[in-house]
Symmetry: C2
Subunit: 439 residues, 2 copies
């Protein structure tokens, strides 16, 4: 039941354990991208409204969060800014703004929140992290293979093992339509229907295709070629009859051969029935899927005219978008209990002892450990030991009147309960050694 | 001159070198906070409008970016969400929402963008990173000292050396007003005027104080006590006459004694004329300043009733806010040229050689290096070597027909021009060794 202290609908607060789990995954992904020579780009959370409008179609446009004009214009109820909806339109703007300052090709990744006024649901948020990597300015299939491989390695780096990559090409699909004599004017509608083959039974798709104007036998033949056990072979044969089909097959086979030695066996397969819905793709297309997971773990492809259509320069491009939120839900260890908050907990057993306790915590930190003094109001050792335990501390430094007189600290191992007296000046060294011994 | 491809007024695009410089500093700061036992918190970029309204005063409220209602309500021109203005109101909301799930005390840091519809200017942006650390639920002065020390260590961790900390206490200021017989009803106005002593000549502040209703001699005496060479001694003597003054001095001296061994000598000083403008402070207050830098590098203090005033539970609190953007402008190396993009650049000298070149780049990555193949359209070695050089690559892997026949790769050291032939299967090991030798 939502209450007035909940975050806004479709957004989330991330407490420590969630932040740490997410940031750990993000760091692993950034590290993969950097090793591939992709560089980071950060653009503002909002753009001018005119930069975003007209770029996402009618349905997308409804999901844009608009920001009210400020000052005396506020009363007009008009908007002049809007929260970013994706990372691609900002990329087109940046390519236009910084052209010659950017390397050629421009290989960049962007990872940050995007905002959509969508109906919230499972894995569907109004603020969520989008993670894109793109190469602008290269027509080489090596660029497609590189983006795909980097996306693959990113999933592997966060610990996913059970996933596969479906590879296809827009030109394979064009060739397929020609080979099955689909009238050109029905082409895009037919592809939209074929895209449903992974969710709907073949018969339902055949019905939809006949509604779109295909003859029943033609529709059945097409669906059968895509869903038969030997679908790939049937399609390969059909494609050799058309120029687009031959060119598309060559794209697919080139990408497969580039990745053959890089990806685990069986990880990637030519999947002719995989149709990425978006019409702007022009070359290879791919989708990452996992068994039992509805929807994709990310997808991408070549889009040689999109950047110009979005208002940027006329640069060929290829890119991939990682479905970060869904991916995070599959990362091993999701839902594990919170890690301990402290390594070293230091008691404060009296006002006159506080400065030395404060210094002991600093000694723990200088050994690279997380260390803090007790900040509560109890002067009782027992209460403070409970706090040390609740913090998950590995060691508790006890410093009372007795220790002060002997110029030592008592270090209690919170796992074993064993205690050692350490000369006050040697505590940093003691912890450095203990941390090493602990690994 | 702004053009249509610029980011919105008051916001910035960060290309690779800037992102890397900023993230490097942020990582250093996070690491310091973690060692002090502060845990991360991430809240949404926007809040419900009613959570933010009535929290920032009239002037602050004008700077809130409001988000238009969606769907059929859009035409109403009304807002129901707003971009977060700071990290403190979200903290109060989180403290209310998750109460018992949070540790006691709750030590958290938040680092992320906040948004203000301010007039853009030098170091003043409409989207900027705010970095706060706070401890809720402790009345101990150890908590204040810990926050201050962590803020200090964060600045040191990013490489700042030339800065000092001005320390004071709200109760010192209250005691001071009593000691100088300032009528209680003039108190807050007088403090606002005294806060200007670091920017305006003493005479101007005296004039302002008399306008506020103080007698000229009284105003002059007060200003003199705060600006004289022996100001601290004069103030200490005056404060011993009032209860608040005695209590405030005790706060200051306790914090100074806790930090004495932790901060470099001369880094922190009792500064009675330092008045933090915000009226919600109740105990120690501090400000980080640097010579030649207008404004502060961050500031903080104890605010024992603020969280309740902001709609949260009635928890004592103390916190500090790092002025990240100003700090970043002082970080050594700001403005340095971009670091190299690649360690290993791999040529692609023919379609039949591409798969092996692609595998060589993977070998570089497996050695932990940043490696990529040439993605351009030229088949010329010379062009590709220029690309390798422009990428800042340390090594270029040349793989032509000759190398293919000998099953080797030619590795060119881009600094010395020396070349070595490496058996194709041994390239990963070669680079691992070369990277180690390079440090």
């Amino acid at each position: 039941m939502p209450n007035r202290f909940d975050p806004p609908s479709g957004t989330r607060d991330f407490l420590a354990a969630d932040v740490e789990r997410r940031e750990h995954a993000f760091a692993a992904i950034r590290s993969v991208f950097a090793r591939y020579g992709f560089e980071p780009l950060q653009t503002p959370a909002f753009e001018r409204l005119d930069v975003l409008m007209g770029k996402y179609g009618d349905e997308g446009e409804k999901l844009i969060f608009k920001i009210l004009r400020r000052g005396e214009h506020e009363a007009s109820g008009e908007a002049d800014l809007a929260l970013r909806y994706d990372m691609t339109v900002p990329l087109a703007r940046v390519a236009a703004a910084y052209g010659s300052q950017l390397p050629t090709p421009y290989k960049r990744y962007a990872m940050g929140p995007v905002f959509r006024a969508d109906r919230p649901g499972k894995d569907r948020y109004r603020e969520f992290v989008q993670c894109d990597l793109d190469t602008l300015g290269s027509t080489s299939l090596l660029a497609d293979a590189e983006v795909l491989a980097a996306h693959h390695d990113a999933l592997a780096a966060v610990g996913l093992t059970q996933f596969t990559v479906q590879l296809n090409s827009r030109r394979v699909l064009t060739g397929l339509l020609t080979a099955f004599s689909v009238p050109p004017e029905l082409g895009s509608g037919v592809l939209i229907s074929l895209d449903k083959l992974d969710k709907q039974p073949p018969g339902a798709v055949v019905d939809e295709l006949t509604e779109r104007g295909l003859a029943v036998e033609q529709a059945a033949e097409l669906v059968d070629a895509l869903t038969a056990p030997d679908a790939v072979d049937q399609v390969r044969v059909a494609l050799t009859k058309t120029d687009d089909g031959i060119a598309g097959l060559d794209e697919v086979d080139t990408v497969l051969s580039l990745l053959a030695g890089q990806l685990p066996a069986g990880r990637i397969a030519f999947t002719p029935r995989m149709v990425r819905g978006l019409s702007y793709y022009t070359g290879p297309i791919w989708e990452f899927v996992a068994p039992g997971v509805a929807g994709s773990l990310g997808a991408g492809g070549r889009y040689d005219h999109l950047i110009a259509q979005l208002g940027g320069p006329d640069l060929p491009g290829t890119g991939s978008s990682i479905g970060i939120e869904r991916m995070l839900s599959l990362v091993p260890g999701a839902g594990d209990p919170s890690p301990p908050r402290l390594d070293v907990a230091v008691t404060v057993l009296g006002p006159d002892l506080a400065a030395q306790s404060f210094a002991f915590a600093a000694a723990g930190r200088s050994a690279g450990l997380r260390a803090s003094v007790y900040l509560g109001s109890s002067g009782k050792l027992r209460t403070q030991l409970k706090w040390a335990n609740d913090s998950g501390a590995r060691w508790c430094v006890i410093y009372g009147e007795q220790e002060r007189q002997a110029a030592v600290a008592t270090v209690r191992d919170m796992r074993t309960g064993e205690q050692a007296e350490v000369p006050a000046g040697e505590l940093a060294g003691y912890f450095a050694a203990a941390a090493r011994a602990d690994g």
